[in-house]
Each structure stands twice: as C-alpha cells, then as structure tokens.
Symmetry: C2
C-alpha cells in the first residue's frame, strides 16, 4: 500500500483563478503537451470560443504571470503557470477516474463531468475523492465481492438511454400491469441480450434486435426496461 503521492505541498500565494481562466490554463497545458507550439487558434478551437475572447484571456493570464507570450507569437506557460496547470490537470484526471472508474460513466462523459467540476471542488473534497478512487482501484484488483455488486448497480440503466449500436443485457422490466405483460411476451426477459439498431429521426420509436428479431419500441416503453450495457470497446463503459 502506498500513500505518499497526495502530499499537497501547495504554497498558495494569491493566485486565485476564476473557473474560466483555470480552463484556459489547463487547455494551454494540454495542447502544449501534444504539440510543439500553442497558438490562439488552437485554444479557440479546443474550447469552442472565438479568437478575440482567447486573446483577452491570454492577456489576463499574462498579467497574472502565468503565461508568457509575445504579440502575434506563440503561447507558453511560465513555470508558475505550468505548476498551477499541473495541479489543475491532476485534479481533472483523478476526477475523471472517479467518474469513469468508480461511477462507471463512459470516458467522454466522465471527462466533461470532470471539466465542469474541477473548479468547484475544495481541496478537502478532492483529497477524499482521491482516496476513494485509490481504494476502489485496490479493491477492484483483488476482485472483492462488493466491487462486483456495486458495479451491477451502477451499470443499470434504462434501455432508452443506449445509443445506436449499443448492446446490453436485460436485468429487469421495471413497470407493472399490462405494459409489463406485453413487454415480457415480446421477449424482454432477464438475461436476454438486446441491441439498439437505430433511432427514428425524432428518436422515437427505436428499433431493437432481440433474439435475432427486429422490434420497434416507443422510447417511453423502453424506459421501463432496465439493462446492463455490454461494452464493445475495451476502454468503453
């Protein structure tokens, strides 16, 4: 067991960044890691923001001594900027681990979740989540019973939330009465495998494959069928 890495040696001076500026900083760091040079255009594209806005943000970051750049030139992080960005990135990355690894959201959602949350978490909450993630990883490796149990719970979702092409195993039909009976008669039973063939243009109805047959279902009906998605890709949920 290791518990050395979380040493928060942070000497917080006065660098309180707004959520927005933190985003810019993180973005610059990410881009810098992947390319030789970072330019306004890259940031703008990556954040989905216009270049003038980026320009302005860069000025603000430069005033805070976090970024070093010349007019019309490349953008670089100062040592302080890099240090801060690294902290933000670490936060982002284990938050993403939390959402993906522990909460079993797909990588993309987990990432965007982390993006939005990272600016609002207190250091203490960060630490606790970090520990939870580590604990979970340790436990998952040794395949303790509760990991599986938890996973089963977390992986449940209504059939209506799958995307086109997704495959899943039915866990239960969570409605009662006539509709339940109808669904069960159609073959929606626990353990059965199902695949989403495609959604109609307005997302309703959706076409499914079940036991080799194609079936159309209204989204409202599909909502009552609780499934466990079966991963196609190794990395995906």
């Amino acid at each position: 067991m290791k518990h050395s890495s979380v040493q928060e040696t942070v000497e917080f001076i006065g660098t309180e960044l707004s959520a927005t500026l933190e985003d810019y900083l993180e973005c610059v760091a990410m881009l810098a890691a992947g390319q030789r040079v970072v330019r306004v255009k890259d940031i703008a594209k990556s954040l989905g923001i216009t270049m003038p806005s980026v320009s302005a943000a860069i000025v603000r970051l430069r005033e805070k001594g976090l970024i070093d750049s010349e007019k019309y030139g490349y953008i670089e992080l100062t040592p302080q900027g890099a240090a801060l960005a690294e902290r933000v990135c670490r936060k982002h990355s284990f938050l993403a681990d939390f959402f993906h690894g522990v909460l079993r959201m797909d990588r993309k959602s987990a990432n965007s979740e982390a993006c939005r949350l990272e600016h609002h978490l207190s250091p203490e909450a960060c630490r606790q989540i970090y520990r939870l993630v580590e604990f979970h990883r340790d436990q998952a490796q040794s395949e303790t019973p509760w990991t599986g149990e938890l996973r089963e719970i977390l992986d449940e979702k209504p059939l209506s939330e799958l995307k086109e092409g997704d495959r899943a195993v039915i866990r239960r039909v969570a409605v009662e009465g006539a509709l339940r009976k109808r669904l069960v008669e159609m073959g929606f039973r626990k353990g059965e495998k199902v695949r989403v063939v495609r959604y109609a243009p307005l997302r309703n109805p959706l076409e499914l494959e079940l036991k080799g047959y194609h079936i159309s279902l209204r989204v409202e009906e599909a909502r009552g069928i609780i499934v466990r998605q079966v991963g196609d890709e190794p990395e995906e949920e």
Copy 2:
C-alpha cells in the same frame, strides 16, 4: 389502450437556470420551508449578498415565471418554481449525503461542497452518485468490510488539520529520518490519543495534549503525524 404509466412527468421545457439563479431559487425554497413568509432581506442575509442584488435576481426569476411577488411584498414560488426548487434541493441533499456519509467530511463542509457542485453535475453523474450513496448506506448497515476499511482510509488526516479542541488517535508518523525519531521519542506512536489544546495566534506552533502532558509542535511537524479524528458530537465527523 393506454400505457401512460411510464411517462416521466418532468417535461423540461426551456428552463435553463444559471448557477446563481438556481441558488436563489433553492434559497427561497429553504426559507419558505422554515418561515411563514420570505422577504428580500432574508435571502440577502442567507446568501451573504446585498439586497439590491437580490432584488435584481428576483426580477429575473419572476420573468422566468418561477417566482411570484409584488413590489415591496412577500416572495413566493410559483408551482413551477417550487417543482424546480425541489429538484435542486434533492440534488443538494444527496450530494451532501455523499460528502458527509460516504466521503466522511463534516456536515458543514459537506453542505458547502454540495452547494457549489450541485449546479454543475449532469443528470447522469447525479444518478450514479445517488446509487453509490444508496449502496454505501446498505453496506454500512450490515458493516461489510468495505465500509470499515474505507472509513479508516477516509478518516486519516494530518494532525495539523485538526481544530482547537479536537481529539484524535494517531495512526502513523509519515515522515522519515531524524524528525520521525524525535516525534516517536516524544510519544507520538500509533494508537496514542492526542488532543489539540490550542493554536498560537499565527497558527504556529500548536499546543497538544498527549498522555496527560502538554507538548508544543510546529505545524510543519504536525503535518507528518497522521491521525484519525475521534468524534465528539454524534453527528460530527
């Protein structure tokens, strides 16, 4: 034949609120629950914001049809406002449960954490956290291994983070070399009980009680002593 039973009754129209407005709405709901009438002054005090700002926010909420109020009069939620507020409150409350119950932060921190996060969590993330909280509660009742083990990990904190009057049990001394030797010789050993008597004006040094003796320690030194806080109050961490 009708099968409307599955209908998710929430028909999200276009009520996308900013984080700030969500806060106001939630605040109004909370106050309304605890008092007969809600007034600008109450909101201002509760959110730590000046009355003119509240006034302006109320106008914005009224324009969105979430609040009903007359000039210089009381403030009430419309049915839609109440519905939305209730959703926000539910989110808040299980998030607080997550931070307090699962992550073992004290109630107050857990609450403020929930406050800041609730506006930025996607519905999916909410759902997963909700499930995790429920799972945790189930497990905690039957005292399964993971609850206890996880709790031990989550409850660890450096001695330097305790507040005056807090009591704790030492879990380990997480430094090496001469300092470690010195601390151990002073009596800081695993299982020993310790109490924070008080901090000096500048938070350094801090005065401790250990085995009936009073000891002064520099904060930097105390950081190396990992303890598990012992709750005084039933509700506290």
